[in-house]
């Protein structure tokens, strides 16, 4: 994860979304420490990630890039989502 980005979606937000949309209980600190591990190691499947993307799109009132739902790790996902939200790309 790069430092230059202002994080609109934090690790804690992602942990809360994983719980709400997919029933996955993960400690935000663990998620932060293991941010380069695959989503599958936390028990989140591809439909679960799709639900998180939809939830963020509703929350921020804009579409996210298609690659968002194909991200393999929390780090990759947060970087993509936050870059996209910041630049409006």
């Amino acid at each position: 994860m790069t430092d230059q980005i202002t994080y609109q979606v934090t690790v804690a937000d992602l942990a809360a979304l994983m719980k709400r949309t997919a029933g996955v209980n993960v400690d935000p600190d663990d998620l932060g420490r293991q941010a380069d591990d695959g989503f599958d190691t936390f028990g989140l499947d591809s439909l679960g990630l799709l639900g998180i993307v939809a939830e963020l799109e509703k929350r921020h009132g804009r579409s996210l890039p298609e690659q968002a739902e194909r991200c393999k790790t929390p780090a990759e996902f947060l970087a993509l989502v936050n870059t996209s939200l910041q630049t409006g790309a």
Binding site: T21, G23, G48, L50, G51
Partner: protein, 426 residues
């Protein structure tokens, strides 16, 4: 079948575990107690949002807390019918004292379920989101939760079963067809198959779908809504819940020390057209004859019949005549029962519950009665009032679907079975 049994390569399909989630309770034990006592669990439909429909009486599963039984990751992506299925599957595995260590490999365990309506409650919620708020508000799990195949998939995933899987969409009778398909899967080389059906049709959308069935009882009296084989028959009361059975290859089951409680001996299925009940006579008789032939079973060997018992006069008459056609004079003597009048008809799950009841009845030497039914107007030895003690070795289970499928299944008590769970209830 007897010739085949002597063949050392013969693979028999043995029932080793029962898992039940029904209006009578969660678990085979409370279910059997209520069933043997002839108790009715039919009540006025009280589910939220279901109060103002012409359907007034149903069999609801009460006191079922899925969160206490199933992990949250499964709960959020599944409907109530799959919550029932996951629970019943776990109960069946536990009942058979089967654990992951008993599998030779994940590929040696398969799953087969039947479903009549899929996940109506989940589907309604998401469709309301769609039309109330827009497509972005529909959760992605909608794509799998309301699908007929959901329970087979989720049972497999939760338990890491990778053997042959199947879903039977065969109307109510599909519950028996699923058992037959599972037995064939065992014969063809899979050691263990988790098989059954559960339904959750008591949500507003699902109820509206059923209101078009002329066979659905509109009675508001829990004691009078579902009274098959009587002159007061006025249709059937629907139910939720169901059963899952563990089927294992007979020899493999014995080798791991499991009790072989019954074997799936024969099956037959026919189609005679939706709501053409008079014609179901010939179809049901043919299904019975086919099932008995596969089981190498003479009509006189049938010790108990679990009737379809639709509760529509024309259909009840057709069933009584089908039994006479297929069993001859034995049809007037053999005890017939329809314990489902105490729970309601849980569509595909109804005959699977009957199969579970048949196993328990054979073990206890007791034919359970037909609740709420007293004055029979057909030439059948229907067991009413109290349970009827009898030595039971062979059970015939019948099921017909509203869309015209007829099935018969023969279960036999294992000849080598030593335990006898004779009941103290009578």
């Amino acid at each position: 079948m007897r010739e085949r049994r002597r063949d050392p390569r013969h693979r028999g399909a043995a029932v080793t575990g029962l898992g039940v989630v029904s209006p009578h309770g969660v678990g085979a034990e409370p279910f059997w107690k209520m069933t043997a006592d002839g108790t009715s669990s039919l009540t006025r439909l009280g589910r939220d949002g279901c109060e103002n429909y012409p359907l007034k009486v149903a069999g609801e599963v009460r006191g079922f807390d899925p969160a206490a039984l199933i992990e949250e990751t499964y709960l959020v992506q599944t409907d109530r019918f799959t919550h029932f299925a996951l629970t019943a599957a776990q109960l069946a595995l536990d009942d058979a004292r089967w654990g992951p260590a008993d599998a030779a490999s994940p590929y040696s365990v398969g799953v087969v379920t039947a479903a009549g309506s899929g996940g109506g409650e989940f589907g309604q919620r998401e469709l309301q989101n769609l039309w109330g708020q827009g497509p972005r508000h529909v959760g992605p799990y909608q794509s799998i939760a309301w699908f007929y195949a959901a329970s087979t998939g989720q049972i497999s995933i939760r338990n890491d079963f990778k053997g042959p899987c199947g879903v039977v969409a065969g109307d109510e009778a599909g519950g028996l067809d699923a058992l037959a398909h599972a037995a064939r899967t065992v014969r063809r080389g899979t050691d263990t198959v988790v098989v059954g059906a559960t339904e959750a049709p008591l949500a507003p959308y699902s109820i509206v779908c059923q209101l078009g069935y002329p066979e659905l009882s509109r009675s508001g009296d829990p004691g009078g809504a579902y009274r098959p084989f009587t002159s007061a028959a006025c249709g059937f009361a629907p139910a939720e819940g169901g059963a899952v059975l563990l089927l294992e290859e007979e020899r493999t089951a014995r080798e791991r020390g499991a009790e072989v409680r019954a074997t799936v001996a024969g099956h037959g299925a026919t189609f005679t057209g939706a709501s053409r009940w008079a014609e179901s006579r010939a179809g049901l008789a043919r299904a019975i004859t086919t099932a008995l032939a596969e089981a190498d079973c003479r009509p006189e060997e049938v010790d108990v019949v679990f009737a379809d018992a639709l509760g529509v006069p024309e259909a009840d008459r057709a069933e009584a005549l089908a039994l006479a056609d297929a069993l001859g004079p034995h049809a007037r003597r053999v005890p017939v029962t329809a314990p489902k009048t105490g729970t309601g008809r849980a569509y595909c799950a109804a005959p699977v519950l009957d199969a579970a009841t048949a196993v328990l009845a054979m073990e206890h030497g007791l034919v359970p009665p037909t609740p709420n039914v007293l004055d029979i107007c057909h030439d059948l030895a229907l067991v009413t009032g109290r349970a009827h003690p009898a030595e039971l070795r062979t059970a015939l289970i019948l099921s017909r679907g509203l869309m015209g499928l007829n099935s018969a299944l023969v279960l036999r008590r294992s000849a080598a079975s030593s335990s006898h769970r004779r009941s103290t209830l009578v």
